[in-house]
Amino acid sequence: GTDGRVNIWKSGDKGEKRSDFHVGRGGRWEGQVPPLPSDLAEVKSHDGDGFLPKPTAKELAEFEKLLDQVKISEGALKTDGFGENPFYHCLVAEIPPESREPQGSTVVGYGLYYFTYSTWTGRNVYLEDIYVMPKYRGQGIGSKIIKKVAEVALEKGCSQFRLAVLDWNESAMDFYKARGAKDLTVAEGWRFFRFDNEAMRELVRM
């Protein structure tokens, strides 16, 4: 645990070189993604926690299939987030060094977002990924991350803050609805579509 002190700051701030840049979807903070099944096992015993779902066996099996889909390298994450033209921005939640576990990291959560654009209202913020390590949940870290992203959105003149949630992740849906977010898929029929790599190559061939 921590003594409640958590700093949320923007990766790359403070002028230090973030050579130990850690972004991932799981508890391995050496830059590897995604979470190991053991993390999910921890989640199961933490009922009512904010972000990770309580996966069924089917979901776990599908999740493990997703491991094959993690294609990105740490190098790519660095260039894409910290190059001349960043494709994403990241907030990290950090605990004081004295509070961390032995061999553990001070970074215990993150929020990854980017700016999008609406032909009706202009600039928006899109929260792509948010994660808090299982042991640090229930302390308001997730809320702090969301709050910080809301601040960034307002600061940058954004009219909306959008995100996607999986329909079986009820606790996440409740979390966002409790803060006033609207489920546009239900309310207005919006659906996510995608042309994957193969489909795009077909379009080029046409």
């Binding site: 969301i146 999986l166 006033g180 489920d183 309310a187």
Partner: protein
């Protein structure tokens, strides 16, 4: 804001003259012009190219024209009543964004956000020769896109809006736009192209699924959530 546009400073005073009223006034003219142009077209030549700052007035015109109330066939913003083959939608949706007044974006926003220091969007323009004016062209369609990011697979291309004026559909302009977008995605090492479609818009849904698009909401259960400004202020100001 001083000199926000590096190479386009000279353009700003000219663009300022294009007031919102003028753009509204040109909408009808351009729509009539487009219909006439289509009727007199001898060859169906068209070109799809990246937008320049000078295209912003036309982009704004097309954004407003593509609003459902005017019979537009835009992307995820399509609502019933646009004369398309759509399924009945909830009553509340009929009022949503059904008017060009829902477009809050101004010409200056488009210029600053598309052609300033940090582009928030990119545009492709579809144009045809304007036979009435020997050296002129008529802008008849556009696509607005930007790059997004998935931490597992990296960059993605996101298609925000995609519209072709009614008289110019069925000529392959849409396909050419999608082809160019795919080329841009592949060149920029994007794994895929994402976009939103309103499920009640059968025409749009079929257009995309016919071309190989997958409905991730159905397949994987993704729902789109939105916080508006009111909620942002509340969250930012709470303890």
């Amino acid at each position: 804001m001083a000199a926000p546009f590096n190479s386009h400073e000279g353009l700003v005073p000219e663009i300022r003259e294009e007031t919102e009223e003028r753009i509204r006034a040109t909408q009808t003219t351009q729509t009539e012009k487009a219909t006439l142009c289509r009727q007199t077209m001898t060859a169906t030549t068209f070109r799809v190219r990246p937008a320049q700052p000078q295209d912003c007035p036309e982009i704004l015109r097309l954004i407003k024209v593509s609003c459902p109330r005017t019979g537009g066939w835009g992307m995820g913003k399509q609502v019933p009543g646009g004369g398309q083959k759509v399924v009945e939608a909830p009553q509340e949706l009929a009022a949503y964004g059904n008017s060009p007044d829902a477009v809050k974006l101004t010409l200056l926003d488009l210029l600053k956000d598309g052609f300033g220091d940090h582009p928030f969007y990119y545009c492709l323009i579809a144009e045809v020769p304007d036979d009435a004016e020997l050296t002129g062209t008529l802008t008849v369609g556009f696509a607005m896109y930007y790059f997004t990011y998935d931490p597992w697979i990296g960059k993605l291309l996101y298609l925000e809006d995609f519209y072709v004026m009614e008289p110019f559909r069925g000529l392959g302009i849409g396909s050419e736009i999608l082809k160019k977008l795919s080329q841009i995605a592949i060149t920029n090492r994007c794994s895929c192209m994402n976009f939103l479609v309103v499920i009640w818009n059968q025409t749009s849904t079929e257009y995309y699924t016919r071309r190989g698009a997958l409905d991730l909401t159905t397949r994987e259960g993704w729902h789109l959530f939105r916080f508006e400004r009111k909620e942002l202020l509340k969250m930012a100001n709470e303890d």
